[in-house]
Every structure is written in structure tokens, then in C-alpha cells.
């Protein structure tokens, strides 16, 4: 491993070193610089990805910072930076102390960056498990509260099963093809003649494991409980970056396979079930975070629809939607986090009249709801537009129509939040007023939602560099 090798994976090293130094510093000077160093590290890693020219990968490491990896590393780093800004005030108010929190967030981003830079199934798996491991901590970090502990246990148990599925899938793939190299394995899939059954079985197991991560129906059962129990900033991170990483996993595999025909039927079913079940179940929820959990399930159904319309430009659409979805969920959970004092306002009803008493957070939450519902001029609309366009172009007409009809159903529950924010009288339940870092984080998320909704061109060009 030479200096050039180290140079070429600098962002990964930055993240790892940042995570360790935050942890060590916590032992020496507790409670002072954790968030600051974390944010600086994350910004540094993203700047590095944006500014330095592309370099050849390191075959010995199995990772290479391709434009794809850079894009996702930047996305995950910025997401984590926003999450850290959101967490500071929240953790202080809810007495979650210690440098473990920012260090774990950085470590999770490290896992995600490794995953998106992987050219081989081993770093892919390590990255995925690394980030999942970080989330086992984060979900249960508020360990004094039983909900948080319960959520952590649920996530751990289900996560372990999913990890076993993924690992077994990779083992089968290796047994079937004798290779762990992603392009060559996936290339074998599209070759004519009969497909290796071991490879197919391996991919099936892999897909089951990933479906858990993205929380696609029927592997979604953990999602509502974990979202409800875990602290809001953690959920903001979990619902955006960890799902984003799992989608990036699929984005690494599927385009390399050329034609996704053998995977089309399972993806089709997952997408259909997620869109329908997610949206219908969300209608019944009274708890905001639980509702957003089902909404996330449905949103991931749309992303899956994009993934299986690869030949219509779906991969680019999926990547775009991921960015939009990240901004929307950060805004939604960020607003919840900044409105939290001792207890989180849980029920949708608790948000009554907040559009007037907390105009800023209320406005951001309402914007996030409109965006998630896919109403222009927001990123959510543009993202959905490209997904449905890709689906129609790729020939998934039935699924596109079902998807768009379930999107109409979703309008009802998203609007219910807006109704409570603006059309009902204040209950005076919420006393938190938000800190400056939280405001900055929310402004960033809201600005991205609006900017991508009005002028998505630059991001689309960027995505066009690595996906069609």
C-alpha cells in the first residue's frame, strides 16, 4: 500500500480517523468538541470528494472512489452533518451525553462510504454491516428510556437475521461463480444460456437482506416500532442514510447485471407491496413518527419501482429520488427533533396550531409533507416525475399507474399533518423553540427541497455522470 493508495481513499480515512479522534477526545475533554469535529470531518470528506480529481482504484483494497462513490459519500456525509447539527440541542435536552454519539455517526458514514466505493462483495458486505452496527448503538442510545431500548433490541434481532441472509447470499454467489468481483458476478447473470442456480439463489438471499434494510414489505415489520422508539435525529439518519446506502448497494449490483430480468419479479412484488401496504397503513397511524415510518416504506416502494425500470432511465431516477427523499425526511424528522423538549410530541394531534406558534419549524414540516406527497414545486414532485417517467418508458405501466394512485392516497395522511399545523387551534403542548444549529439544519433541508423542485438540472447532470 503506497502513498498514492492512501491518497486515493483519503475521504474514507478522514472519516475513520475523525470517528476515532472524537471518541478519544471525549475521554480527555468530555462534552465539548464532539459535534464540531464531527461536522468539520464530514464537510472535509465531502469537499475532498468534490474537489480532488478522479483516480484509479486500489485493487488490493477492493474499493475505489468512482464518481458513484464520491456522489454517495458526499450525500451521506452531508446528511450526517445535518443530523449532528440536529442532535446537539436534542441530545442536550434529553440528557443523551457522551462522545459516543458523534463518533458512531461518523463511523456509520465510514461504513456507507466503504459500501458505495466497493468493487467487491467483501467490502460491500463489510460496509453494510459496519453501518448497521453503528445503528444498533444509535437506535438504543437513549438507553434510559424503555422505548429506545425496545427499538434497539428489535432492530438488533431483525438486523442480525438480515445480516445472516446477506452473508449467506454472498457465500452462495461465491460458490456459484467463484468470484466476489461485482462486475463479473453480475455480468454472469446477463450472459445468455441458463443462469447459474446458485448465483440466483445467492442473489435472492441478498435481496431479502437488502429488503430488510430498505424496509420493503414484507420485510418492513421492524420499521414502525424502531422509528417510533428511537430518538428523532437518529430516525432522521436511519431513514435517510441507511436506506440510501442499501439503495446504493442495489445501484452497484443492478446496472452491472445489464438486464435485471431474473430479479424483476421479486423487485416488482416488493415495489407493489411496499407502495400499497405502506400508503394504506400510514392512513391509520396517529403517531407522527409511525406514520412517517409507513410513509418511508411507501417511498422506498417508489425507489424500487425506479430500480426495476433501469432501461427507462430508472437508475438515475432512483439516485435523484434518494437525494430528494433524504432532504424531505431530514426536514420532517428535523422539525420533530427541534420541537422536542423533554418528551417528543408524538401524536399528529400534538402538532395543532404549531404553524403559528412555531412558524419556522411548522413551515418546514409542512413543506416536507407537501414534498413527500409529491406536490410541485418541491423535490418530491420532480423525483416522482422522473421515477414514473422511467417506469412508463421501461414498460412498467401497471406498476406506474398503481404507484401514482397510491400517491394520491398518501396525500390524505400527509395533509393531515398540515391540517393540524395550520387549521386547528394550538394546544400549548409544545414548548421547545429550537436552537441555532437546528435552524441551520432545517434551512439546509428546506432549501434543498425547494431548489431541487424548481431547478433540478445541475443534480441531474451530476447523476448522469454515473447512472442513466
Amino acid at each position: 500500500m503506497s502513498i498514492t493508495d492512501i491518497w486515493s481513499i483519503m475521504p474514507l480515512l478522514l472519516l475513520a480517523v475523525g470517528a476515532l479522534s472524537v471518541l478519544l477526545l471525549g475521554a480527555v475533554m468530555p462534552g465539548r468538541f464532539g459535534t464540531g469535529i464531527g461536522v468539520v470531518t464530514l464537510l472535509g470528506a465531502s469537499l475532498w470528494c468534490i474537489l480532488t480529481p478522479s483516480q484509479a482504484g486500489v485493487p488490493t483494497l477492493g474499493v475505489s472512489l468512482t464518481p458513484f462513490a464520491r456522489f454517495f459519500t458526499v450525500l451521506f456525509s452531508l446528511t450526517a452533518a445535518v443530523v449532528l447539527l440536529l442532535s446537539r440541542g436534542y441530545n442536550a435536552r434529553r440528557a443523551i451525553r457522551g462522545e459516543e454519539y458523534p463518533a458512531t455517526v461518523l463511523f456509520a458514514v465510514f461504513g456507507m462510504a466503504v459500501l458505495s466505493a466497493a468493487a467487491n462483495f467483501l467490502p460491500l458486505f463489510l460496509g453494510l454491516e459496519g453501518l448497521t452496527f453503528a445503528f444498533y448503538f444509535l437506535v438504543a442510545i437513549d438507553r434510559e428510556r424503555p422505548e429506545s431500548g425496545e427499538a434497539g433490541l428489535k432492530y438488533l434481532l431483525m438486523g442480525a437475521v438480515a445480516a445472516a441472509f446477506t452473508a449467506f447470499g454472498i457465500a452462495l454467489i461465491y460458490a456459484g461463480t467463484g468470484s466476489l468481483d461485482v462486475p463479473s458476478v453480475m455480468g454472469a447473470l446477463s450472459q445468455s444460456g441458463k443462469v447459474n442456480p446458485l448465483l440466483l439463489a445467492g442473489l435472492g438471499f441478498l435481496l431479502a437482506g437488502i429488503a430488510f434494510k430498505i424496509s420493503l414489505v414484507p420485510a418492513h415489520l421492524w420499521t414502525p416500532d424502531v422509528y417510533q422508539g428511537a430518538p428523532a435525529p437518529v430516525v432522521a439518519f436511519l431513514s435517510t442514510a441507511s436506506k440510501g446506502a442499501a439503495v446504493a448497494f442495489l445501484l452497484l449490483l443492478l446496472p452491472a447485471a445489464g438486464v435485471v430480468e431474473p430479479l424483476r419479479i421479486p423487485l416488482w412484488g416488493l415495489s407493489l407491496l411496499s407502495m400499497v401496504v405502506g400508503n394504506l397503513a400510514a392512513l391509520l397511524q396517529r403517531n407522527l413518527k409511525r406514520m412517517l415510518a409507513y410513509s418511508a416504506i411507501a417511498q422506498m416502494g417508489y425507489v424500487t419501482l425506479a430500480l426495476l425500470s433501469g432501461k427507462g432511465g430508472g437508475y438515475g431516477a432512483a439516485a435523484f429520488y434518494l437525494v430528494a427523499y433524504t432532504a424531505m425526511n431530514l426536514a420532517a424528522f428535523g422539525a420533530v427533533a427541534s420541537l422536542t423538549e423533554e418528551v417528543e410530541p408524538g401524536e399528529v394531534e400534538d402538532y395543532r396550531g404549531l404553524g403559528y406558534t412555531r412558524p419556522f419549524q411548522g413551515g418546514v414540516l409542512a413543506l416536507a409533507m407537501f414534498a413527500l406527497a409529491g406536490i410541485p414545486p418541491t423535490a418530491g414532485f420532480v423525483g416522482k416525475f422522473f421515477i414514473f417517467a422511467a417506469a412508463l418508458r421501461g414498460g412498467e405501466i401497471a406498476l406506474a399507474v398503481i404507484g401514482i394512485l397510491t400517491a394520491v392516497v398518501s396525500v390524505y395522511y400527509y395533509l393531515r399533518v398540515v391540517v393540524n399545523l395550520y387549521m386547528r387551534a394550538d394546544t400549548g403542548n409544545v414548548t421547545a423553540s429550537g436552537t441555532l444549529p437546528e435552524m441551520v439544519a432545517l434551512i439546509c433541508a428546506a432549501a434543498v427541497i425547494l431548489f431541487l423542485g424548481i431547478y433540478p438540472g445541475p443534480l441531474l447532470e451530476l447523476i448522469g455522470m454515473f447512472a442513466r
Binding site: Y356, P377, A389, R393, I404, L415, E461
Partner: protein, 518 residues
């Protein structure tokens, strides 16, 4: 200047919104003033459109700037107007200051937010009328929903939340299907941009046309609203605050009929032809049914709301006659309905502000107490009924002539009874509210209209007469564009339908060249 004037007009209200953000929460007078001044400025900016409009079928004041270019897509910020959209744009900029002025005393709470919603709504409506890029149109079309949803939901009556959500979901359900059709249409055209004129030139096979037409027509039918998807309208109208009802009736509903003229008919002529009997039947049912329902309403506002459904049924009938008189009548009736129903909602607002009730039975004999109000109300009622000399007459007359001369003859015959019914319900209502004994003691102290209220009504009353006595300038400016629509509607029909003659109803002479209608 010529190519920026449309954009300038459309986005001027946004400047007002920005200013409003910086005005303290409690300075209601300044907030109202800023909003009114912005709307008035928008109106004055829009006036050169009328004077500078050259009477031909071309799109004018066109501006096209690349907006999104990615992957297979190319969206442009492409705006322009022709004779069809010209008057609808002017109607919008004309109604907005009036609507804002009407809220002076009606809205006392959250004034700032209200004004912001109204101005944002104006941006959406103007944008939808001037868009010549289908994607841009769709964006503006949806953008309109959000401020209207807030206007109904925050400042509305008792059932405001139900009304607002119903309004939103109905409109959204229609428009997402339109979005699917729009994307499919784009791919059928084989890439390129979303330029409307490019889509006009396509010849699609009848089966594709049918599906796409149904999707578009459904979206527009909800907005018109056609029977049986009209149920959101009476509710939304009744629950919305006065300015909301005025804008909803005067402008938002026109989006639906405008959609038929601009998109559904010229884009999918043969499918449109195929579904003419269905749409004409629904329009006529709408006319008769809504008139009958209006007759038994006890709430004045609900009555006016149902009369809207009936009037829009007339408009649709005229458009589907697809000849010069019919479409011109339909277009004119769209403007008339904007003026007269807008005025009616303002009138309902006046009495509601005074008495906080809208039940017909609570009134009676008001003409003695409020003579100015009675006069204006009378004129507006006549206009709504379509009495000769007022604008309503010209529009309805042209529609009926047009329909009678087309193959919708029997529909026209049935629909004419709607004219009589409208006289019945409007006059009966007028009589019960304004004449008779002034027996309710609460009505004995009602003040007559004040200067502001008269100032609101005067331009509308003037327009009622101008358009009733001398409608030629309005029709002349529209005529070439209408001819073009008719030609598009029939020309491609000839091409697309002739090979399958059985689809054409007997009696339709498809071989007659469209120029004959001129």
C-alpha cells in the same frame, strides 16, 4: 420588453409576497395595502397585453428559455398567449384586486398569511394560463392547489377542513392521471421537449388517443366540474371565505374548461370526437341537475355554487359544439361567469359580513333597507340569468346557437330549459331575500354598501353591461385562435378517423373542410 411582459406579470405577485414577509405580524392595514397594490400593479402590467395583442392565431409575447435538460428530458420555460388565454389572463388580473379588496373587513385574523396565499394563488393561475410547455403547465396547475387549500382550510367556515381536504384530493386524483398521460404522450412524441405545438402536430392512433384523452378529460372534468365529479365544488365554495369563493368560481373553474380547449380537444381530436356524446350528456345533466338542486337550497352561497355547476355545463356544451359560435360562446361564457358569479359571491359576502348568516329565510325585504345593494344585486342577478343587455345573454345565446347548429342539436334543446330554470332559482332567491316584508328585526338596522364595497362592485357592473352590449372586441380577439382550435379538432379527425368510419356517428360530415366554418 414584449417577451418579458408575461413573466413580469406572472411573478409580480411574488414580489408582493416577499415584501409581506417583512411586514410585522400586526400591521394589518399595511399588509392589506401591499397585497392590493401588488395585485393592482399586476393588473396594470397585464394591460399592454390587450393593446399589444395582434388579432391572429399565433402565440404572442412568447418567451422560451431552457429550464431542465437531463437524460431524455428537455423542459423549457416556454410561455405565450393567444386569443384564448388572453382574456382569461386579463380576467385573472382583473378579479384579483377586487378579491383582495373584498377581504378588508372580512378577514381579521392571520391577514398576512391570507394575503400571501392569495398572491401565490395568482402566480399559479397566471402561470397555468400562459404556459406553452406541458410540464410547466402541470407545475403551475398543481401549485395553485396549495394556496387554495390553505385559504379554504384556514379561513373557511365550519366544515373547512373537510372541504379543503376534499378539494385537494379530488383535484390531485385527476391531475396525477393527467401526469401519466402527459409522460406517455411525451414518449410517443419521441423525446425532444414538452412544447405544446409540437404535440399538436402528432398523429396518434385512436387507441392511444382514447386513453390519453380520458386521463386529461378526467382531470379537467373534476376542475370544471362536470357531473358527477362536481361534489367537491358546492362544499368548497360554501366553506371558503368570500375571496376564496370568488377566485374559485371566477378563475379556478376556468382551468378545467380552458384545459379542454387548449389541451384535450386539440391534442386528441379523434378521441374527443368519440366521447363528445358522453361529455355533452354530462354537461346537459349538469345544467339541469344543478339548476334543480340550486332551486331547493336554503343557503344563498350554496345556491350560487350550484348555479356555477350549471353555468359551466353550458360552457362545456358550447365548446363541444366545436364550431365558431359554440366555442366563442363557451369562451365568452367563461368570462361572463367569472364576472357575474364572482360578483354574486361578493354580494353573498356582503350580507354574510353584516348578518353572519346566509340562510335565505333569515332575510326578506332588504331592498328597503339597502337600496344601492338591491340595485347592484339586481343587475348581477340579471347577468347570471342571462337577460338581454347583460353579458350572460350573449354567451348563452351563442352557446345554444352553436350547439343547435352542430350535431348536439337535441342537447341544446334540453339545455335551453336550463336557462329557464336559472331564471327560476335566481329570481326566486332574489325575491325572498330582497322583497317582501322587512320582518326580521335584525335586518332593520343593516347599513347599505359603503364606499369600498361600491368601488368593488362598480367595475364588475360596468363589465356586465359592456360585455352585454358590445361583446365584439372580446370575440374578435379570440376568433382566430378559436378557428385554429376548431381546425385542429376537425382536421386531424379527418386524418385519424376516416379509415374507421363506423366510429363516426351518422350525420357527421367529416369531409367538410374546416375552413367552411369561418
Amino acid at each position: 420588453m414584449n417577451d418579458t411582459i408575461l413573466s413580469l406579470m406572472t411573478f409580480t405577485p411574488l414580489i408582493g409576497v416577499l415584501i409581506l414577509f417583512f411586514i410585522p405580524k400586526d400591521s394589518h392595514a399595511i399588509q392589506r395595502g401591499v397585497a392590493f397594490a401588488t395585485a393592482l400593479a399586476t393588473f396594470f402590467i397585464s394591460l399592454p397585453l390587450v393593446t399589444g395583442f395582434v388579432t391572429n392565431a399565433e402565440y404572442q409575447f412568447v418567451k422560451s428559455v431552457p429550464w431542465i435538460a437531463a437524460g431524455p428530458f428537455q423542459m423549457n420555460y416556454h410561455v405565450g398567449i393567444d386569443g384564448i388565454s388572453l382574456w382569461l389572463v386579463i380576467l385573472t388580473t382583473f378579479i384579483m384586486p377586487i378579491a383582495i379588496l373584498s377581504t378588508w373587513t372580512a378577514v381579521e385574523e392571520k391577514v398576512k398569511e391570507y394575503m400571501i396565499c392569495l398572491l401565490l394563488l395568482e402566480v399559479g393561475m397566471l402561470g397555468a394560463f400562459i404556459s406553452l410547455d406541458l410540464f410547466l403547465f402541470y407545475i403551475f396547475w398543481e401549485v395553485m392547489l396549495i394556496p387554495m387549500y390553505f385559504i379554504i382550510g384556514i379561513w373557511g367556515g365550519k366544515q373547512k377542513i373537510y372541504a379543503a381536504v376534499k378539494f385537494f384530493i379530488y383535484t390531485m386524483a385527476g391531475s396525477v392521471l393527467m401526469l401519466v398521460a402527459l409522460i406517455a404522450l411525451y414518449f410517443k412524441a419521441g423525446g425532444g421537449d414538452f412544447n405544446l405545438t409540437r404535440f399538436y402536430a402528432l398523429s396518434l392512433d385512436p387507441a392511444t388517443q382514447t386513453w390519453m384523452f380520458l386521463a386529461f378529460a378526467f382531470a379537467f372534468a373534476i376542475k370544471v366540474p362536470l357531473f358527477p365529479v362536481h361534489t367537491w365544488l358546492p362544499l368548497a365554495h360554501t366553506e371558503a371565505p368570500t375571496a376564496g369563493s370568488v377566485i374559485l368560481a371566477a378563475i379556478l373553474l376556468k382551468m378545467g374548461t380552458y384545459g379542454y380547449v387548449r389541451f384535450a380537444i386539440p391534442l386528441f381530436p379523434s378521441a374527443s370526437e368519440q366521447f363528445t356524446p358522453l361529455l355533452a350528456t354530462l354537461s346537459v345533466i349538469g345544467v339541469i341537475y344543478a339548476s334543480l338542486v340550486a332551486m331547493v337550497q336554503e343557503d344563498v352561497k350554496k345556491l350560487v355554487a350550484y348555479s356555477s355547476v350549471a353555468h359551466l355545463g353550458f360552457v362545456m356544451l358550447g365548446i363541444y359544439a366545436l364550431n365558431q359560435q359554440g366555442v366563442a360562446g363557451g369562451m365568452l361564457q367563461m368570462l361572463n361567469h367569472g364576472v357575474s358569479t364572482g360578483a354574486l359571491f361578493l354580494i353573498v359576502g356582503f350580507i354574510y359580513e353584516r348578518r353572519h348568516t346566509r340562510l335565505i329565510s333569515d332575510f326578506g325585504g332588504l331592498s328597503k333597507q339597502m337600496p344601492i345593494f338591491a340595485t347592484i344585486f339586481m343587475i348581477v342577478t340579471f347577468s347570471s340569468i342571462g337577460l338581454p343587455g347583460t353579458n350572460g345573454f350573449v354567451g348563452e345565446f351563442l352557446v345554444l346557437i352553436g350547439a343547435f347548429e352542430s350535431n348536439l342539436r337535441w342537447y341544446a334543446v334540453v339545455a335551453s330549459s336550463g336557462v329557464i330554470l336559472s331564471a327560476v332559482y335566481m329570481l326566486w332567491m332574489f325575491q325572498r331575500v330582497m322583497f317582501g316584508e322587512l320582518d326580521n328585526p335584525k335586518n332593520k338596522t343593516l347599513p347599505d354598501l359603503n364606499a369600498r364595497e361600491i368601488a368593488i362592485m362598480l367595475p364588475l357592473v360596468a363589465l356586465i353591461f359592456v360585455m352585454g352590449i358590445y361583446p365584439t372586441p372580446f370575440i374578435d380577439k379570440m376568433a382566430p385562435a378559436i378557428d385554429r382550435v376548431i381546425q385542429q379538432g376537425k382536421m386531424k379527425q379527418v386524418a385519424a378517423v376516416v379509415p374507421q368510419m363506423p366510429m363516426v356517428a351518422p350525420g357527421v360530415d367529416v369531409t367538410v373542410p374546416p375552413a367552411v366554418h369561418k
